[in-house]
């Protein structure tokens, strides 16, 4: 258990009657990439604004790097980088000029600021276009400029709101690599997104947000365990009689689907390929194919919201 970078207790934010965030208990450890996942309007951005002290919580407490953002916003904002969802720059200024302004707002001394700016631009692959006006930048370049800006303050924590939205697949993939590099440099990252496979690709842990509450939390595997019942899906094709019963009786199998004559789908709590194969052989069947699927966040997400809807309908 590492040191906690973000800790909220009963964090709540109401806009009039609307509860944007309700009794949120969030804990993010030093050095991990935490993904906040949920549909639009589920309270992700509001939570981020409260973590940065840009919005006052209605109730509850927040600690970011040991500071209270509502009381010590300057200490928090000096150490935390924020990449908003809608990333805007002063288009009429160059990339470098945009960063100089931010460096000045951070109170960096001139020579130190210039050094860090060169370094950050180079690191984000923007060295060549440093003196071009930002108006000429593509969305991917703006996003990287955003990271360069955040790196100026040598942050301990970076909060990103929908960082890959609107990027083409290539730029999105590059951006995920950037996130991995930042993590390797020891920076804690909090990521809000609804692009599931990207969250799954980089996040150590995930929190699922729904109507202002964090309804599920854990690694993707843990979530799959909770929501899908089994974390492993084993697909096998086999020829033979009464195979379904044999597979069903294996310890650890949660459910068996039998979509067509020779295909069986097992939901299991662990990797049961060997046991399943043995069961088929022992039952006198002929094994044709065997495969295991890692659970995807997509499935967890879809299944969870299906269940919520069913629950609401019932």
């Amino acid at each position: 258990m590492g040191e906690l970078v973000i800790e909220t207790r009963g964090l709540t934010k109401h806009y009039g009657d609307l509860a944007a965030v309700e009794a949120l208990n969030l804990a993010v450890e030093q050095g991990e990439v935490f993904g906040m996942l949920g549909p639009n309007g589920s309270g992700k951005t509001t939570t981020i604004l409260m973590l940065l002290g840009l919005t006052e919580p209605t109730a509850g407490s927040v600690q970011v790097l040991g500071f209270d953002p509502a009381r010590q916003p300057l200490s928090v904002k000096a150490r935390v980088g924020y990449l908003p969802e809608q990333l805007g720059f002063y288009d009429e200024l160059t990339a470098r000029e945009n960063l100089i302004y931010i460096a000045k707002l951070n109170g960096l001394r001139r020579d130190e600021a210039y050094k860090r700016i060169d370094q950050a631009l180079e690191q984000m692959g923007l060295g060549e276009v440093a003196d071009n006006r930002v108006a000429t930048f593509s969305r991917g370049m703006r996003q990287r400029l955003g990271v360069a800006e955040v790196l100026l303050k040598r942050p301990q924590l970076i909060i990103m709101d929908e960082p890959t939205q609107g990027l083409d697949p290539e730029a999105a993939r590059e951006f995920l690599d950037i996130i991995r590099d930042l993590k390797a440099a020891g920076i804690t990252i909090l990521l809000a997104s609804h692009l599931l496979h990207q969250v799954q690709a980089v996040c150590d842990r995930v929190g699922l947000f729904h109507q202002g509450r964090m309804v599920l939390e854990g690694t993707v595997k843990e979530l799959a365990q909770q929501v899908l019942g089994g974390a492993y899906r084993i697909r096998l094709e086999a020829d033979g009689a009464a195979l379904e019963e044999a597979l069903q009786s294996l310890p650890g199998v949660v459910n068996v689907n039998h979509p067509d004559a020779n295909t069986y789908e097992l939901e299991a709590s662990s990797d049961l390929r060997t046991e399943a194969a043995r069961a088929v052989i022992e039952a006198g069947g002929r094994l044709l194919a065997l495969d295991v699927e890692e659970p995807s966040l997509d499935e967890v997400y879809t299944r969870y919201f299906q269940e919520v809807e069913h629950g609401a309908a019932a």
């Binding site: 951005t45 509001t46 604004l49 940065l52 840009l54 919005t55 009381r71 010590q72 916003p73 300057l74 200490s75 904002k77 000096a78 935390v80 980088g81 924020y82 908003p84 969802e85 809608q86 990333l87 805007g88 720059f89 002063y90 288009d91 009429e92 302004y101 931010i102 000045k104 707002l105 951070n106 109170g107 955003g146 800006e149």
Partner: protein, 328 residues
């Protein structure tokens, strides 16, 4: 007990200074103003009108050199058809310039999506708003001072006599009043830029308020005075009461305050602003100029009124901005 109080006090106090980052904002905004096309157009306009009106005034004044003690002040106030006087032009252009400097101050940052990024830096909102105001104010002061120097230079070249110390002092006070008159419109445009998300709406609203005061407020003041203090029997008291009310109402407009200051500072012979009864003039030698101190004393309420209005408007904008949600 004392310890608890101390802790409670510490908890209420915000960390650090609200002005952290102020000068970074001022420097950036001023650089923006001074390089923007908008400002260039206004500068050209102002310089053209200034030199045009002063040149016209010079043509008139050349004939009276040596007869007038306040030749340089005449330079500012003499009109020659079809051009109005320099002060008239400035009274018209300063509000426009001030509005142009601030109408997109806050909503512009919103629309460019830069606001949340800037406020995520270790500064308070105070610094951003005050920095934007100061940058506009300094830009305005810079432009007006340049014009003042230009006019003085033109005067020196063409009149061939240096201005007296008193003339310089009077015109400098006039310059100060003009900057603060601009400050009101700057603060107003800033407030509208917080209230309205569209810069065009904010600009139109500011210009509407300005037109209201310049065109309609005089009429409304006189109408209100006639309704509230009607002259029923034609007594002098009634007429006096009506005129007094009308003047009070008219002074709610910054334009009235500013034109009264201009009048008293640039026409040293003006001894009173507003109503003067014949009995009050008893013993006065008409046509003799007042010393600067007395003229200043005369305009002091108007000058403080302008400054107070600027501060009030800024405070209103400050409160609105602090309460605004910054999410897009």
């Amino acid at each position: 007990m004392a310890l608890q109080l101390e802790q409670a006090r510490r908890e209420r106090v915000r960390e650090g200074s609200p002005w952290t980052g102020l000068w970074a904002v001022v420097a950036k905004e001023m650089a923006d103003h001074l390089t923007s096309v908008r400002m260039r157009i206004l500068e050209v306009l102002i310089v053209l009108t200034a030199s045009g009106t002063v040149y016209a005034a010079l043509q008139n004044l050349r004939t009276t050199i040596g007869q007038d003690r306040f030749l340089f002040l005449r330079l500012l106030t003499t009109a020659r058809d079809p051009l109005p006087a320099f002060v008239g032009f400035l009274g018209f252009l300063v509000p426009l310039t001030a509005i142009a400097l601030a109408f997109d101050a806050v909503n512009g940052e919103f629309n460019r999506r830069t606001l949340s990024r800037v406020l995520a830096q270790p500064i308070y909102r105070d610094a951003l708003l005050f920095g934007k105001f100061l940058a506009g104010f300094f830009t305005l002061a810079l432009v007006l001072t340049t014009i003042w120097l230009l006019v003085m230079g033109l005067g020196l070249l063409h009149l061939g006599v240096p201005p007296s110390g008193e003339e310089v002092a009077r015109s400098l006070w006039y310059l100060l009043a003009t900057v603060f008159y601009g400050g009101i419109w700057l603060a107003l445009a800033l407030v509208f830029s917080i209230v309205f998300r569209q810069p065009a709406t904010a600009a139109l609203a500011s210009i509407a308020v300005w037109l209201f005061f310049i065109v309609f407020w005089g009429m409304i003041a006189s109408l209100l005075a006639q309704v509230l203090r009607p002259v029923q029997f034609g007594f002098p008291q009634e007429i006096l009461a009506q005129s007094k009310l009308e003047l009070t109402l008219a002074r709610l407009s910054p334009n009235t305050l500013y034109s009264e200051i201009t009048l008293a500072l640039l026409h040293p012979t003006v001894r009173a602003l507003g109503l003067v009864l014949p009995i009050q003039l008893h013993g006065a030698i008409l046509g003799t100029p007042l010393p600067l101190r007395q003229s200043l004393l005369l305009t002091w309420p108007q000058l403080t009124g302008l400054i107070a209005a600027t501060i009030l408007l800024f405070a209103l904008g400050y409160v609105l901005f602090q309460r605004q949600e910054i999410r897009p």
